[in-house]
């Protein structure tokens, strides 16, 4: 069984989750590579009652029609609370992957349907891909988002049929061969197979979030369709089976997973080989998402130099990651007093990522798509907000970075203090000159003169908080 170094385990936890404390990373090291991956993937076995209790205390979604308690901002607060407090980080990360993959947005879809979709993505995130695709195609949010409910016999709406192929399964061109995966006629024909799909409130259910999918036979086109050159009387389910089984879909999914979790796939021949290797896992495991991601996270590709810090942190990774790595405190409070507890969701919007509201059906632009002068300044502003969040009451709603927690990582000597925080926040690889500049910062007084470093309370409150701000502003910290 392959071992896993501290840096590798930190890398794994940042990618499969949001990073963690030195203790959490050490615990993964003790499990070895496969053990660590299995621990994170088999999250259903991890006791998460503490988070469940916190969620139950902090939110009241019992009545989706009560706007004060159930609305988009509450949903965003809910998901951030989960990401900060869960002991099953991969559950949240994989749900986020599918939210980005099947990007559906509250800009067009009612909050209640966004919440229902999130629960479905969560429940099926490691299922067979065919199953997940069927769930999504029958999902109320998706039927509204891509106009499926308006897709009727005689005048098909192509929106879903197009994105099903372009974004959800195979892409316009094959990742490996570069050949066109489908024609405009395929779009039209597949649209016909999905005609008549509707949703309604599940009759007799006491769950206010229960909706059921059905096909209105009056509006469904039962005539034969020709898809990828084969003519048959395809139903929507038949189409899902056909597209899920295409080699192009296997390749495209591997590329999407690599782009999100490992490194961006290029068109080089070695990357094509990598895609084929993992596409084979998808095929041999009967389209199991769980087997595919497991194969990726235990692979040498995942631990290669190329993969290390090869991605740009998504805003939620930046926000939640800093909290989890530093051991900061986030108390969600309740819906009632409009206090600091909404701060994470509110800031994330300014960093370019509003959960439940991606910009369009292609999802967020990852990596350098996150970076521009406006979003960078807003990242720096979040860092500032985190380090100035002082409190005497760590149980108050909001985001807090306690003096005691900073004191814990502060060393007697400025260079060691810098190195400790660079390790906690990464570990980040930063050259000696930068370490020197940060250590000089710790020793510089208000007049700009470099003096001595005395780790007393004032220095921790002023300079160590300032140091954390500066490290979070480093370009190295923007990477994942």
């Amino acid at each position: 069984m392959a071992g896993i170094t501290y840096d590798e385990a930190a890398h794994l936890l940042r990618r499969m989750g949001f990073g963690g404390s030195p203790q959490e990373i050490e615990a993964l090291v003790a499990r070895g590579r496969e053990g660590a991956v299995d621990f994170l993937i088999n999250y259903a076995q991890v006791d998460n009652r503490a988070m469940d209790d916190l969620i139950a205390r902090s939110f009241d979604f019992s009545d989706p029609n009560d706007f004060t308690k159930f609305n988009r901002f509450e949903l965003e607060r809910w998901w951030f609370t989960r990401m900060v407090h869960t002991r099953r980080p991969f559950e949240e990360k994989m749900t986020l992957f599918w939210h980005n993959h099947f990007a559906t947005a509250a800009s067009k879809v009612f909050d209640i349907f966004m919440y229902v979709q999130n629960r479905k993505l969560r429940d099926h995130s490691l299922d067979r891909f065919d199953t997940l695709l069927k769930v999504v195609s029958e999902d109320s949010a998706m039927l509204i988002w891509l106009d499926g409910i308006q897709n009727v016999k005689g005048s098909p709406n192509e929106n879903f049929a197009r994105e099903l192929q372009e974004l959800f399964t195979m892409g316009i061109i094959d990742v490996v061969t570069g050949e066109a995966n489908y024609t405009e006629d395929d779009v039209k024909e597949i649209a016909r197979a999905f005609t008549g799909g509707k949703v309604r409130f599940a009759r007799g259910s006491t769950d206010p979030y229960a909706f059921e999918f059905f096909v209105n036979p009056e509006q469904h086109d039962f005539t034969a369709k020709t898809v990828y050159g084969v003519t048959a009387n395809y139903s929507a389910d038949d189409i899902i089976t056909v597209v899920s089984a295409r080699r192009s879909t296997a390749r495209y999914l591997v590329k999407k997973l690599f782009d999100f979790f490992v490194y961006p796939i290029t068109s080089s021949s070695s990357d094509k080989q990598t895609v084929e290797k993992f596409a084979n896992v998808y095929v041999s495991s009967n389209h199991s998402i769980k087997e595919l991601v497991r194969a990726i996270f235990v692979s040498d590709e995942f631990y290669s130099d190329r993969a290390r810090f090869a991605l740009v942190k998504q805003p939620v990774e930046f926000i939640v990651g800093a909290i989890r790595m530093l051991g900061a405190v986030y108390n969600p409070g309740t819906y009632e007093p409009r206090n600091q507890s909404n701060v994470l969701a509110a800031l994330s919007i300014f960093l370019g990522q509003e959960l439940f509201n991606p910009p369009d059906v292609a999802g967020w632009n990852l990596n350098l798509g996150w970076i521009n002068t406006a979003t960078l300044l807003n990242r720096f502003t979040y860092a500032d907000l985190l380090v100035i969040s002082r409190t005497r009451d760590l149980s108050a709603p909001g985001l807090w970075l306690s003096h005691e927690q900073l004191r814990r990582h502060t060393k007697a000597n400025p260079k060691k203090t810098v190195k400790k925080f660079l390790s906690v926040l990464g570990p980040l690889k930063v050259d000696a000159k930068m370490v020197r500049a940060l250590s000089d910062y710790l020793r510089t007084d208000d007049a700009g003169n470099i003096g001595t470093f005395t780790p007393d309370d004032l220095t921790v409150d002023k300079k160590v908080r300032g140091l954390v701000h500066l490290i979070m502003c480093l370009s190295e910290f923007q990477l994942n």
């Binding site: 197009r162 292609a362 002068t373 100035i388 940060l438 908080r465 500066l470 370009s475």
Partner: protein, 429 residues
């Protein structure tokens, strides 16, 4: 003037002075360059994202095919009247959507060029690919640099201050992707700032110095770290420039806050008025992807004067009008042109959802005092035999002809150097 970044950082003691430094990798190239752009000429791009329905924007009201393809959505001549009852007809063949009353008035004053039938060969029906094609002026959509980014690399390298900015958004438009110049984008001026701990204001200079040390480091060209670090440096440098200047803006024009394009164009005006080198400005209005409910339809009856498309076009028209008046108030109306684009038009045949699916060629608007107003290009035929397999019209003007006309005729650039080929002049400049 300090000659190295280290000296600069020491001397500035926390106050970042605009224009003295460039991100490390650019320093050497920049010294050899003298910016060539005439920054007195302002160019504003308005992107209508989602695929604007060109046929219901500049309406071919006499075309019987238009009416037969759009039984629910087509406007007839009698309906082409703005909110005050004035006709929006601009020729024997075309009229503007009733929501474009303000644009119609500018048109009548000879300040609006409308280029008909703009597109490109084998138009894609994908939003994302088509946007990339327009942004990069490369019909493969694979080029990494935007057309304005390439212009900026040629004409703006070495230009101090804020010569190019995208406004009102958290995403930088790909048109501005450049090889050497970092083009900033600003969501709003208030939060465009580098903040530190307010409990220790006297430590701010130390914070900025340490930040600048980090942001001035040189990383491998084209690495993620290099790109991020250059943007980080530029963000703080530009933020200080913005904070010092934009609050000097005064205007009698009131831009309604509920109109997002008006909010964006007010920021453009604010920059143009207070920052003399502001030269390329970019704003967006989204929401044009009207597969369904393009018009309201109470009880199944279409009401073409209400609904999403009407609202968005009214926002466009009103915002442009206010911006034009603002520029005139500041004596800048002769210095500014606007160019509107959208990634494609919509399908001539309406769908059953009171909407339209993805189309191909469409028109573009170019607006301003320096523009020779009127109709340019040629409307493609809607005859069944002239439509492609998806049912979309051909194009008559390559969109790069419009870019070339602006590059050569307004920006004073060599369009061939920017676009990689020679394109015909459309004639509106």
């Amino acid at each position: 003037m300090p000659t190295t970044r280290r000296q600069f950082i020491k001397r500035s003691a926390g106050a970042v002075t605009v224009g003295l430094v460039l991100p490390g990798t650019l320093l050497r190239e920049a010294r050899a360059q003298q910016a060539q752009a005439n920054t007195n000429r302002k160019f504003v791009v308005i992107q209508l994202a989602g695929g604007n329905d060109g046929l219901n924007t500049v309406v071919p009201y006499t075309d019987s095919r238009y009416h037969s393809l759009r039984p629910q959505l087509a406007f007839n001549e009698a309906e082409l009247k703005d909110s005050e009852g004035r006709s929006t007809v601009i020729s024997n063949d075309f009229g503007l959507h009733p929501a474009l009353g303000k644009i119609k008035q500018l048109y009548d004053q000879g300040r609006v060029a409308i280029v008909l039938g703009v597109g490109y060969q084998d138009s894609t029906l994908s939003h994302f690919l088509s946007m990339d094609i327009w942004h990069t002026a490369d019909t493969s959509g694979l080029a990494s640099k935007g057309w304005l980014g390439r212009y900026a690399d040629i004409a703006l390298l070495g230009q101090t201050g804020l010569p190019a900015v995208a406004l009102g958004g958290l995403e930088k438009p790909k048109s501005f992707n450049a090889g050497m110049v970092v083009v900033p984008n600003i969501l709003n001026f208030e939060i465009y700032n580098f903040l530190a701990d307010p409990a220790y204001p006297n430590d701010y200079a130390n914070q900025v110095n340490a930040f600048n040390f980090g942001a001035s480091r040189v990383f491998d060209n084209a690495s993620l770290l290099s790109t991020i670090n250059n943007a980080a440096f530029e963000s703080v440098r530009g933020a200080q420039h913005v904070q010092r200047n934009v609050n000097n803006y005064r205007s009698s024009i009131v831009y309604p806050r509920e109109n997002p394009l008006a909010v964006g164009l007010q920021m453009v005006a604010q920059l143009i008025v207070t920052i003399p080198e502001a030269h390329l400005l970019y704003v967006q209005l989204g929401g044009f992807d009207h597969h369904a409910d393009q018009v309201d339809h109470p009880n199944g009856q279409p009401n073409k004067l209400a609904g999403q498309h009407n609202l968005l076009l009214r926002w466009f028209s009103d915002a442009v009008d206010l911006f034009y008046k603002d520029m005139a108030e500041h004596g800048l109306a002769d210095d500014v042109i606007l160019m509107e684009w959208s990634e494609f038009g919509r399908r001539p045949q309406e769908n059953a959802s009171f909407g339209t699916d993805h189309g191909s060629s469409s028109q573009m608007f170019i607006i301003g005092n320096p523009i020779r107003g009127g109709l340019y290009g040629r409307q493609p035929s809607l005859a069944a035999t002239e439509l492609d397999l998806a049912g979309n019209p051909k194009f008559n003007v390559d969109f790069r002809e419009v870019y070339a006309t602006i590059l050569d005729g307004w920006l004073g650039a060599d369009s061939k150097a920017v676009l990689g080929a020679q394109y015909q002049n459309v004639g509106f400049l």
